[in-house]
Symmetry: C2
Subunit: 320 residues, 2 copies
């Protein structure tokens, strides 16, 4: 465990590298691989039924014995109460909450010894989370995959603003995938990096291979933030995304867009590999990814890159 970095000390990890909890992509295999490599692995509970989450928690605990890990719970998820019960019952050490009010669950979780980190896309919500008593916040920029803030504030602009406003440590997210981007985010004031897209394209990710290959093949401009009137989400430009964009340009109502989205699109795209009709959520940084890389290699490479770029010479939170 690294004690010169507040996030490493809080979470009991060696390196300030956190694998984002992502629907349909981050189950026990990915989370345990990252935790075993010295980072923090996270289960994405947003795409799991309660019993599925319980199974994944038990499997991470078996595959990465004694290692810290976390569960990401989108607070608007219907089964949130059952998820929180499983988290407490099974002794999950850390919860990342997102998409909801941090006041609802923070005290409850903390009273059971669970550390709580909330994902925000603005200073306003970072301060709300801090007031709710969270241990840290994730400041997630516009370039990130998945659901995202309406203000469209990028990582470069969001991280320093949140770091200035909050006393709790800030974890940066959005556009991070290698040593230089992790160091850049830490230079902006973050104490750790949450990395999503890079971990989607790993063998351990539970995403469908066709989706992983589409992520690696994506070029610049291949994603955009869409469905802003419903819930903003960054989509890879497949046929479904193009249909959404065309509907928006034609002035579709929120109801019409909800109907177009339908149910189960994300599972169909990311988990079942339907690259035509599925919803494919990924970050802008997909344009930089060129191969499917084992999760432990991702962690090891980023740490090595940070070191060779001179990170440790900056001292303090950079000492890893």
């Amino acid at each position: 465990m690294n004690t010169s970095n507040r996030v490493c000390a809080l979470l009991g990890i060696d390196f300030p590298i956190i694998q984002a909890g992502m629907v349909w992509c981050s189950g026990w295999e990915l989370a345990s691989a990252v935790s075993n490599a010295g980072g923090l692995g996270i289960l994405g509970a947003g795409s799991m039924y309660p019993q599925v989450l319980r199974d994944h928690i038990t499997k991470v605990q078996a595959a990465a014995p004694g290692k810290p890990f976390a569960v990401n719970v989108p607070l608007l998820y219907p089964a949130v109460e059952e998820h929180m019960q499983s988290i407490v019952d099974l002794g999950v050490p850390v919860v990342f909450t997102s998409a909801g009010n941090p006041n609802t669950w923070t005290s409850h979780l903390k009273s059971h010894g669970v550390k709580v980190i909330h994902v925000v896309s603005s200073v306003k919500f970072a301060l709300k989370a801090e007031q709710a008593g969270v241990d840290a916040v994730v400041a997630e920029g516009f370039e990130a995959g998945g659901h995202n803030g309406r203000e469209e504030t990028t990582t470069m602009c969001l991280v320093p603003a949140v770091a200035d406003a909050c006393k709790v440590p800030v974890i940066a997210a959005g556009g991070l995938h290698d040593g230089r981007s992790v160091l850049a985010a830490m230079m902006l004031g973050a104490e750790a990096a949450q990395i999503g897209s890079r971990f989607v394209a790993t063998p351990e990710s539970s995403a469908h291979l066709a989706f992983k290959e589409a992520v690696v093949a994506a070029g610049e401009g291949a994603t955009s933030l869409e469905l802003k009137s419903v819930t903003p989400v960054r989509l890879l430009h497949n046929d479904f995304a193009k249909e959404v964009i065309a509907a928006q340009q034609a002035g579709a109502t929120v109801e019409a867009l909800r109907e177009l989205l339908g149910r189960g699109r994300a599972k169909k795209g990311m988990f079942e590999g339907d690259l035509v009709a599925g919803e494919l959520e990924i970050g802008q940084v997909a344009a930089m990814l060129t191969s499917i890389e084992p999760a432990a290699d991702v962690v090891g490479r980023i740490v090595a890159e940070c070191r060779s770029l001179g990170g440790p010479s900056l001292g303090g939170r950079f000492s890893f």
Copy 2:
């Protein structure tokens, strides 16, 4: 002059800090103040008639004798031929070109001993500029003020991609305003930072005081990239911007948006201070700015911040 940094060596400047050439904001007073402080000042020719540009060039040369400076020329500007003639005639050492094809003017300018740097928002156009023979490129991210790329690639994602693709040095732009953001951009692979919004809010900027005060007062989410079907531009949310957003949501055609925009909106807003009906172009980073600060103080503060954050310990291009 700093010779351990390729951009400093190319331009003959002490610090890798470049003040963006901005319509209605960057005349001779701002450019000479930045050049005298050891950075590179740029005249924004996009809002100048040919005789006005000639006057400003002469005034910079008088106010910052022997110091390098540049002119930014949007290549779609109607008077571009006269501007280029003035640049050659008056011995301007560096030109920043934008919004157009770098093939058109690069060889001509270089044959007259003028250094040429082209502003891009994608790897594709960075490679085109490099093939055209430019000396460096500015990689400008989605968060930047003014006109901007359709791919919406942020500084965090764009700068490393361009740095990987190009042999010429990369200057980062978008979201940069202080030491930590400049170092972050350099960590991503840039060799210098082009800073816009921070220099709008200086006494030396030719922007109207009311606009400067609006920039300093802007909070998070106060800007967005609009008019994407016409020419994407990041606007501060005044009444005019709200009218544009409402028209877009109602499915306005390109022609209708052009008519709504009309002529002279940018001058009315940024130069004449009409905060209601004028077009106000500014970067996301306006949310971080809290005061109008002299240009030389901006340069000096950023350099001091870079040093106190340990930049020089990283060596090479960070040695300033």
